[in-house]
């Protein structure tokens, strides 16, 4: 297990940054994670020491860029245990990757084919599929959540049928944070001949994700949620499946030959999907962020999170009157709740009142607009934790909520 106090020293944002005059308590890591110094250094090093283009130059400095840049594929391969580094496509994030997948697989689908989602999906794993419905007439179906807002294998089995061609699910949802049984899901889906696409935006930063062990066909995640730069992510696919997708962006770097008669020949995956000058420094920074979480150990990160989360849940449930926690036994980052008198539309007032106490959370629908109907509330407060949060952060949260409930969430405005 790592020493949380030592870990916190690695984050400039946790050492001296104030919000509303108080030491920052950052509880919005499901939106984006803080960056450790080693990632910052790695990005700055590129700017200061070898900022040249990738795959272009005929000089030693550009060779360094190439090797640093391409090396990140190997780091990513290690992080998710892909079979080959060629199964790693660089994207600008989860959203981009899911769009790449939906576009790339369109030619393999036909009218009446079904894409199976669940009610808790993030907009990024909903809208790219909606567009396929508009474009080619595929159908969208949803696995219903149970009374505890969880996706159960039973409900999944009931929702599966022969017309389902793709099951696209968040491994861990961004509002409630339940971990779904991906291994069983891929097994069942594959029995029906369906492919499984995983939105790993919340899972890859938080738990060990082994794509071979889980038999995942496609996986997307973003670097910024695991402590890396924004604007960069990974789209993993089993190699043949990946190579059979069509590329959306055409241009430099992805072709092998172009002829005047408009013939062109494109490279194989992953390069066919990477047209144009990439986000070089972000990619290199992503590699360092992945190494950092592997150094800490994903099992350790998960265990630390479960511990402080349980501590926070116990305090909130015992000490705050009138609190509703929607996911008390979830085993990852987010704690979704409402307090009496501030439900739904007024959750935002809790967010502002916490902000004036130095605590960053997010309120509202959290981009999971379908979930709002399931939870029967227009909004929730989401405090989302990550590897650097401490019990002291949880104490600040609990004390602040107690104070707000006793007093007035609009106090800052008056």
């Amino acid at each position: 297990m790592y020493d949380i106090n030592e870990v916190r020293k690695n984050y400039p944002m946790l050492n001296g940054v104030k919000m509303d005059g108080q030491d920052l308590v950052y509880l919005d890591s499901a939106a984006t994670a803080l960056k450790p110094q080693c990632v910052i250094d790695k990005v700055v090093e590129y700017y200061a020491e070898y900022s040249t283009n990738a795959h272009r130059g005929d000089y030693a400095l550009s060779h360094r860029t190439d090797s640093e840049y391409e090396n990140v594929r190997k780091i990513a391969q290690r992080l998710i245990n892909a079979k080959s580094e060629l199964e790693i496509v660089y994207t600008y994030g989860t959203t981009h990757g899911i769009n790449m997948l939906a576009h790339g697989i369109k030619h393999q689908l036909k009218k009446g084919d079904v894409i199976l989602l669940c009610e808790a999906e993030h907009a990024s794993n909903v809208l790219p599929w909606f567009r396929l419905k508009e474009e080619i007439g595929i159908e969208i179906e949803y696995i219903p959540l149970n009374d505890e807002y969880k996706l159960t294998l039973d409900n999944f089995k009931k929702a599966m049928h022969d017309k389902v061609k793709i099951v696209s699910l968040a491994h861990i949802g961004n509002v409630l944070g339940f971990i779904i049984d991906m291994k069983e899901i891929t097994k069942i889906a594959h029995e029906y001949g369906a492919l499984v696409a995983v939105d790993g935006a919340q899972s890859v930063p938080h738990i060990p994700v082994d794509v071979q062990e889980l038999d995942i066909d496609f996986l997307n995640f973003s670097a910024h949620k695991l402590g890396g730069p924004s604007g960069i992510g990974v789209f993993y696919g089993k190699y043949d499946l990946l190579n059979n997708l069509e590329a959306y962006n055409l241009g430099g770097g992805m072709n092998t030959r172009i002829e005047c008669n408009t013939c062109y020949y494109i490279k194989n995956a992953p390069f066919k999907f990477e047209a144009g000058t990439p986000a070089i420094e972000a990619t290199i920074g992503m590699g360092r962020a992945m190494e950092y979480i592997m150094e800490l150990g994903l099992n350790n990160i998960h265990q630390h999170l479960c511990e402080i989360r349980k501590y926070a849940i116990d305090c909130l449930q015992n000490e705050v009157e009138g609190i509703t926690i929607y996911n008390p036994d979830s085993e990852s980052g987010p704690i979704a709740f409402n307090v009496i008198g501030y439900e739904g539309a007024r959750a935002q007032d809790i967010g502002s009142a916490l902000a004036t106490r130095g605590i960053a959370v997010r309120t509202g629908e959290h981009c999971a607009k379908l979930l709002v109907d399931v939870l029967e509330t227009k909004g929730t407060v989401r405090a989302s934790l990550y590897l650097y949060n401490s019990k002291a952060d949880m104490d600040r949260l609990v004390e602040a909520i107690k104070e707000i409930v006793k007093g007035d969430a609009l106090d800052w405005l008056l």
Partner: protein, 147 residues
Amino acid sequence: MATITDPMILRQIIMDHYEHPRNRHLSDEQGYLSVRKDSESCIDDITMQVKFNGDNIEDIRFDGEACTISSASTSILTELVKGKSIEEATNIITNYKNMIYELPYDEELLEEAIAFQNVHKQANRIKCATIGFDALEDIIKEYKGGQ
């Protein structure tokens, strides 16, 4: 009207307008211009309707999902501008926005809307406090463009 500074009173103003919003139901009648404003970053999603009579705002209504601040500020706005001329309404909007952005403003014109004078303290709530005012500005622009 003297400036109200008592937090209890300001709170009452906001909560009264939030819990009992004025002019909050849309009309099916002809003759209204309407605009829908929704924020992708929060739940606010309001529709505003205005009926003009020459240079005057004869009626103004709104409805939709809205947080405490957007709901109350829009409700107050409808009371402030109903029956006023477009010029007076525009002046109110300008002064309100000056207040929100910490510029000099005439508090006499704003009446209960001064309850939002401190919204800049949480800058991400500025959009809540201005959504109704932006909606009215849009409608006035549309009306003038069509005249």
